[in-house]
């Protein structure tokens, strides 16, 4: 299949876009949807790309899609399926699956603004200034969101040491 140079660049960015979309989304399915919406939007708007870092530009588009999507999703917040989402084949997963699940629940409890900043800094390795530029907010806002995100994560994890099991009736 013939692809254009721009499309080749997007293709090579996909692994990073995939990680970022999943770090924002609440589930694999949501992450995959966000990724596809983002890729489509990047290709539709290719004429608006002013050169520079394609990654930054695509990440900004992804961030905006995530925030728009979250507003809509609030009408139907995902249900916590406490006993059914437990990882199944723990033997094949590196790391403690219960620990991963707790971490996942803790990030899912963050508001989207806090989550975005935390993921850009921690997972994507953005500098605070790069985060401010991506989100179009002052650096002071970035710092206060980062601080709240970290404190909320820590608080959530300190009280969720025990995972409740709820059996279907």
């Amino acid at each position: 299949m013939k692809t254009e140079p721009f499309e080749e660049q997007v293709l090579s960015l996909l692994p990073l876009l995939r990680r970022y979309s999943r770090s924002l989304a609440r589930s694999d399915a949501d992450g995959e949807d966000l990724l596809q919406d983002c890729v489509e939007k990047v290709l539709v708007r290719r004429a608006q790309w002013r050169g520079g870092s394609l990654r930054s530009w695509a990440f900004t588009i992804m961030t905006n899609l995530y925030r728009d999507g979250y507003r809509r999703q609030k009408l139907h917040p995902p249900v916590e399926l406490t006993d059914e989402t437990a990882p199944q084949d723990s033997a094949t997963e590196p790391g403690d699956p219960l620990e991963k699940q707790r971490l996942n629940q803790a990030v899912n409890a963050l508001s989207p603004d806090y989550r975005t900043v935390l993921m850009l800094v921690v997972v994507e390795g953005y500098s605070y200034q790069e985060v401010a530029d991506t989100l179009g907010v002052p650096i002071g806002t970035v710092m206060s969101r980062l601080s709240r995100a970290r404190r909320q994560m820590a608080e959530h994890l300190s009280r969720s040491n025990i995972v409740p099991l709820r059996r279907p009736k």
Partner: protein, 262 residues
């Protein structure tokens, strides 16, 4: 960042964890933390969480076999999308475009398989619930193929499932078909049918293939206000999910069961 040797601000602590301090400042903060055990504890926690998150999402930073298809499909969608076309009409236009060329119709409609990861949902009711939550709240594209093309819908999904699919008629229960979509169920092609009643309340029927499971059973699961009835019949699993009363849902599930079996 603060450059006073003796004053360490919270921003310094974040920059310390995130690796944005120069050597000198890093050492200053380290020395300060040695004298402030509470802050040191907090910093240790934050750093552990950061490492945990990096590990958690690192698995997703990889290329997938059908990445090229994803780009090609999105590029075609992008090309077929005139700038002036209202968003609401876009989905329909894409479908018509895809169907008209007939070449990439399947690609357009197919979603790439989801990767199996730490929190992949492997059991049917959990997958049915997440599909319900994701798709019934979609305003623009709740389904890929609408009920106006029911014959095409069932033959297309049936082909992907390798199974003679039919869409149950639930009019007697007050629900009409709005359409369906292809989606992964336990890592394989599965089908979701969506129904709606006159008040706009939706329910979904998820059908998946699972060759490992030969057990036949009829079960019930609930999570919050969401109810699911599911059963596994040989290699095929079914799940009916809705935000309606258990009695109503059971009646609908039994009707689906009856129609799937006949």
């Amino acid at each position: 960042m603060n450059t006073e040797n003796n004053t360490v601000t919270e921003n310094d602590l974040h920059a310390y964890i995130d690796g944005f301090l120069d050597e000198k400042r890093h050492a200053d903060v380290e020395a300060w933390l040695a004298e402030n055990p509470d802050a040191a504890d907090e910093v240790r926690q934050w750093r552990n969480h950061a490492e945990g998150l990096r590990t958690l999402f690192a698995a997703y930073a990889h290329a997938e076999d059908d990445d090229r298809d994803l780009i090609a499909t999105s590029a075609k969608n992008a090309r077929f999308l005139p700038r002036w076309l209202p968003a609401a009409a876009a989905g329909l236009a894409l479908f018509i475009a895809g169907a008209a060329t007939g070449i990439f119709g399947q690609q357009l409609l197919a979603r790439p398989p989801l990767q199996q990861t730490a929190f992949a949902l492997t059991d049917l009711p959990a997958q049915a619930k997440s599909a319900f939550l994701i798709y019934t709240s979609e305003v623009r594209h709740p389904v890929e193929v609408g009920a106006d093309q029911e014959a095409h819908l069932v033959s297309w999904l049936g082909k992907r499932l390798d199974y003679k699919l039919r869409a149950p008629d639930l009019k007697a229960q007050g629900f009409h078909l709005i359409g369906g979509r292809l989606l992964p169920v336990s890592g394989k092609a599965g089908a979701m049918l969506m129904y709606e009643d006159d008040s706009g309340k939706r329910l979904t029927v998820l059908i998946g293939r699972n060759p490992d499971n030969a057990e036949t059973s009829f079960r019930f699961a609930s999570a919050g206000s969401l109810e699911t009835f599911y059963w596994i019949d040989g290699e095929i699993g079914y799940a009916v999910t809705g935000e309606i009363t258990r009695q109503n849902l059971q009646e609908i599930a039994e009707e689906c069961y009856r129609q799937f079996e006949s």
